[in-house]
């Protein structure tokens, strides 16, 4: 099967360094090591379901995605939806459909898991991202969250965006 220029591949424990590098470079927010390691932590008892992918442009890793299934607040069986924790693409490689492909992957996973909602936090001053998500069917839900981000070089405030389908 011929491969296109942009491809998605799994994240492995060995290339977690590349994965975190992309996020570090792209996002102003600092994530602790645990954030990355929990993808492979066998001892983790919380039984969270993660979705993660890396996007390659040619042979170069340029995009990273980490999302998880949101458990229902009341502890019921049905989940609330899928929450995108990070979705990042290196700046020079944007506008090439890489982010869309990552988002598409998440939407496919949603269908697979019978989910109808995708959530994401976006920093209040990150207009490009807000536009990007809105263009793809996301809507701002609720009020701005003051001081949502703790360790960040950007704005500490954030919006919640939601896509329903």
């Amino acid at each position: 099967m011929p491969r296109g220029l942009v491809n998605l591949d799994n994240v492995y424990q060995n290339n977690l360094g590349t994965f975190s590098k992309i996020i570090e470079v792209v996002l102003p927010v600092f994530y602790p090591e645990k954030f990355y390691n929990e993808l492979f932590d066998a001892k983790d008892k919380s039984k969270q379901v993660f979705f993660s992918k890396m996007a390659y442009y040619g042979e170069i890793a340029v995009g990273a995605l980490k999302a998880k299934l949101l458990p229902s607040k009341s502890g019921g069986v049905a989940a609330l939806g899928v929450y995108i924790e990070v979705l990042a693409v290196l700046d020079p490689y944007r506008e090439k459909g890489i982010g869309s492909q990552l988002l598409q992957y998440i939407e496919d996973e949603c269908k697979e898991h019978f989910q109808h909602n995708i959530y994401v936090h976006v920093a209040a001053n990150n207009e490009d991202s807000l536009k990007w998500y809105q263009k793809r069917g996301f809507e701002i839900e609720g009020e701005i969250l003051k001081g949502y981000y703790k360790e960040t070089d950007g704005s500490t405030d954030a919006y919640v965006l939601k896509k329903h389908f």
């Binding site: 424990q13 470079v25 040619g58 170069i60 290196l90």
Partner: protein
């Protein structure tokens, strides 16, 4: 293994009748040995020896049994006992055979061969011994005896092709090419029509081998070459190695001066493999146009049309076009499409061009690529942008424009921080600037991107070692090693013969040794403080530094000693192939191995370890000589040293504990007695050690034309062999010219020893002086004892004084001829000005 031990029983049982009881028991014991029942065999042997303690065969067999049960020292003593009881070699054939097997197992091949031979001479009818004997003679390169044993074996067992092939090879090794061809032809005749598909490959190899021998025998004789060609045509349908066949055909045509036919063959070869640059070169020669750029250009233009995807037709013209505009055009056509495709290795492709004609090529390439760079948008064509930055950074690095190299490497890294190659490049740039720790950290960041990438893991380790961060290096390298039984991967790396790591580690340890030694000297030269607290602190520091200095020195030498062991192993590993290659029918590959085996001790890594070892052993020797001069060593009565007994004991215990911990961390072998190399550096005979472990092997393999005469000079001078030093100096001058700086430096070193005040033998001195007069009449030898003569002045006006190595040699030698070391130092600093920062740092830090 079982094959090697075979053979004894078979012959022994055949002659069992009419023997003494001891002998019958021995045969029982032999059978037990054969069945690997070593313990039972030993028991039986003990009953024989109880009655007859001088039963030679039993002693020998006991030794062999002990060897296989792991008691190697006892084994040796029993074998020696057996040998002592034998007059010359007049023992029973069985005894001799057993001794031969033992000797082969302990890798004493020469002795093994002697005992095998003795077994046959004393009447052994076991013809298998001839094969073992041939193997041993092959290993020892004793070709005359090899031929005799191969022949004897062949006469016994003519039914195997292997024996014919090996006989032919033995003939060839003895220079009897015609005999070799005859043997091979005879077998071909006998085998004609009887060979099945299974033997087809072996047959093809042997046919080609016969043609090889014929070709070598023919030399330039036209008639003989014709017959080689005939043979080649005849065997064509059976030959699998089509490249070899075509190459041979072309070579014969060339020798016969039938160049047109040769050129056709080369064209055929190019058609088979258009990416082999050698075929293009040979085609040029066969067309007689290698001196004519115009015709060559036309040729390559045509070839490029035939093979648009092949690299050589596009690349080779770049090597000979000298016209700037034309070259620019061609270069553009070569480089730009690659950059457009984002080929990472583009720079590596053009790098050889810088070597031959940098002045012409570098500006052209720079212009082309910077122009391309400014036409690329970092967002529109991101990969092209990154790889172009990568190219430019390497380009500037090669030209030693470090700031620009850094600039482009940084640009690329900022653009795409997920690309491992960029970290490697950035680290390389930092290394050349001399920032070794920063380089190591940079490459380590790259390593973290992908932990399963072994290449960058290895690179990182190397960078850590270069920065003397040995512990980090071990930590990183251990990710990929087997660490079951030890704390880290060092043991495994010794087992795996990872010589790159061990040499680098040795060098890092040596640098650490020098560093600690310097610190120690500085501290010792400082004034002793009056305050008791500070005195204690100082004494503690000194003790610590003494320990570290010694430890690193020992470790450096310890690691270096691992290298000859590997190479001895490489040499030994050939042993099995003397019979294996014959059985498999691969005579050509076998001969290649034989030729390789004669040169193992001249391979670059061995030479590197050799030179490092020379540096260390020479310095040990020089120190021994110095301390012998200073009869009264400096008193070690530090005022604080007189401590209460209890405290001292406690300190010693702490030190021992620390040593044990170090040993656990630093061991290179299981059950090693000298983990820290303390015994190695405590040697009183450094020159003999150096010769025994390192130098003799090198001397036996190296050709006269490629020998390191500076090393030879230093070795012989320290041995006090002035005439041999002079010989080395003269040879060096022949190769490098008389005005070479090194010639001057070595001349002064020699002259220093010839001085009247030098303690060497006067006859040797006058001989050396005569020799100097003959080889270097321009040197004012009579001034050697004139304290006012300015030898530095002489050196600078007669030799190339910008030769850094030569200046350093003079500086290290501490000559009495040259008392003004400051002047020398200044000259070194001047010479350093032209070097890149990395080298400057090394010399400033460790030499001056």
């Amino acid at each position: 293994m079982s094959r090697r031990k075979g053979g004894v029983v078979q012959r022994a049982s055949s002659a069992a009748i009419g023997r003494s009881k001891d002998d019958n028991n021995l045969i029982e014991a032999l059978k037990l040995y054969e069945g690997k029942n070593y313990k039972k065999s030993l028991k039986l042997l003990d009953t024989i020896l109880k009655k007859n303690s001088s039963h030679v065969d039993s002693l020998a067999l006991k030794g062999l049994n002990l060897y296989f049960t792991g008691q190697k020292e006892d084994a040796e003593s029993y074998v020696n006992k057996a040998i002592d009881k034998i007059k010359d070699t007049s023992a029973s054939p069985i005894g001799c055979h057993i001794l031969g097997i033992y000797m082969r197992n302990v890798k004493k091949y020469k002795e093994a061969a002697e005992w095998f031979q003795a077994s046959l001479d004393n009447g052994s009818t076991n013809k298998q011994i001839y094969r073992d004997l041939a193997t041993l003679y092959s290993q020892e390169h004793d070709y005359k005896k090899l031929l005799a044993s191969r022949k004897a074996y062949w006469e016994e067992f003519m039914g195997y092709r292997a024996n014919w092939t090996s006989l032919a090879i033995a003939h060839e090794l003895n220079g009897q090419r015609q005999e070799a061809v005859n043997v091979l032809s005879k077998f071909e005749e006998l085998a004609a029509g009887k060979l099945g598909d299974a033997e087809a490959y072996e047959h093809n190899e042997c046919l080609m081998y016969k043609n090889d021998v014929m070709y070598r025998a023919a030399k330039n004789d036209a008639a003989k070459l014709e017959s080689v060609l005939e043979n080649l045509d005849a065997i064509e349908p059976q030959v699998f190695d089509k490249y070899g066949w075509l190459e041979r055909r072309a070579a014969i045509f060339m020798k016969l001066n039938r160049k047109q036919e040769a050129s056709k063959v080369y064209r055929a070869l190019i058609k088979r493999n258009p990416d082999n640059a050698a075929y293009y070169k040979l085609l040029e020669v066969s067309l007689d146009i290698h001196g004519n750029s115009k015709l060559k250009k036309a040729l390559y233009e045509k070839l490029q049309k035939f093979y648009p995807r092949a690299d050589p037709p596009a690349f080779i013209p770049l090597t000979f076009i000298t016209d700037g505009d034309e070259l620019t055009q061609k270069m553009n056509d070569y480089i730009v499409p690659k950059l457009k495709r984002g080929v990472p290795a583009t720079f590596c492709n053009v790098k050889p061009l810088y070597k031959t004609n940098s002045a012409l090529v570098a500006p052209i390439i720079e212009k082309i690529v910077t122009a391309f760079y400014s036409s690329v948008d970092s967002k529109e064509q991101p990969t092209q942008f990154v790889w172009t930055c990568y190219f430019l950074s390497q380009h500037y690095l090669l030209l030693k424009d470090f700031s620009k190299a850094t600039e482009y490497a940084d640009k690329a890294l900022e653009h795409t921080p997920t690309l491992v190659e960029l970290y490697i490049l950035k680290a390389r740039v930092l290394k050349h600037i001399g920032l070794l720790s920063e380089a190591a950290e940079t490459i380590n960041n790259g390593r973290k991107l992908d932990l399963q990438d072994r290449f960058i893991n290895t690179k990182t380790v190397k960078y850590y070692l270069r920065a003397n961060l040995v512990e980090k290096a071990i930590e990183v390298v251990s990710i990929f090693t087997k660490n079951d039984e030890s704390e880290n991967g060092v043991v495994d790396l010794h087992l795996m013969e990872a010589s790159w790591f061990i040499v680098e580690q040795a060098e890092a340890y040596y640098r650490l040794h020098l560093e600690h030694q310097q610190r120690l000297q500085e501290l010792e030269n400082e004034e002793v403080p009056t305050d008791e607290e500070k005195q204690n602190e100082r004494a503690r520091c000194i003790k610590e530094l003494i320990y570290q200095t010694g430890k690193y020195k020992g470790l450096a030498l310890k690691r270096l000693h691992a290298i000859p062991k590997f190479y001895r192993q490489f040499e030994d590993d050939q042993l099995d192939f003397h019979s294996y290659c014959m059985r498999k029918g691969t005579p050509r590959a076998y001969l290649e191995m034989i030729n390789w085996g004669k040169r193992v001790y001249t391979l670059p890594l061995y030479v590197r370890a050799l030179k490092d070892a020379a540096k260390m052993y020479f310095s040990i020797f020089d120190h021994l000589a110095e301390s012998a001069d200073e009869e009264n060593e400096k008193p070690t009565t530090d005022s604080v040293a007189k401590k209460s007994n209890k405290k001292a004991k406690k300190e010693i215990a702490a030190m021992n504990k620390r040593k044990e911990e170090d040993k656990k961390k630093l061991k290179a072998y299981e059950n090693d007695e000298d983990v820290l190399g303390e015994k190695l550096i405590a040697t009183k005979t450094p020159l003999e050690d150096f010769a025994q472990y390192f130098y003799n092997a090198y001397l036996s393999d190296v050709k006269d034309t490629e020998k390191d005469y500076v090393l030879e000079f230093g070795y012989q001078l320290r041995c006090g062999k002035l005439a041999l030093s002079l010989g080395a100096l003269a040879k060096y001058a022949d190769v490098h010219g008389k005005s070479d700086g090194m010639v001057g430096a070595l001349t002064l070193c020699l002259l220093d020893k010839v001085k009247d005040s030098s303690p060497l033998d006067p006859i040797a001195k006058s001989l050396a002086l005569k020799g100097l007069e003959r080889h270097f009449p321009e040197v004012p030898l009579d001034k050697r004892d004139d304290a006012d003569y300015d030898w530095i002045e002489f050196f600078t006006s007669n030799y190339d004084a910008s030769n850094l190595e030569a200046l350093l040699t003079l500086y290290r030698a501490h000559l009495t001829l040259v008392s003004d070391t400051n002047g020398l130092k200044e000259m070194i600093m001047n010479a350093l000005g032209n070097q890149e920062p990395r080298i400057q740092n090394v010399i400033l830090k460790y030499e001056l």
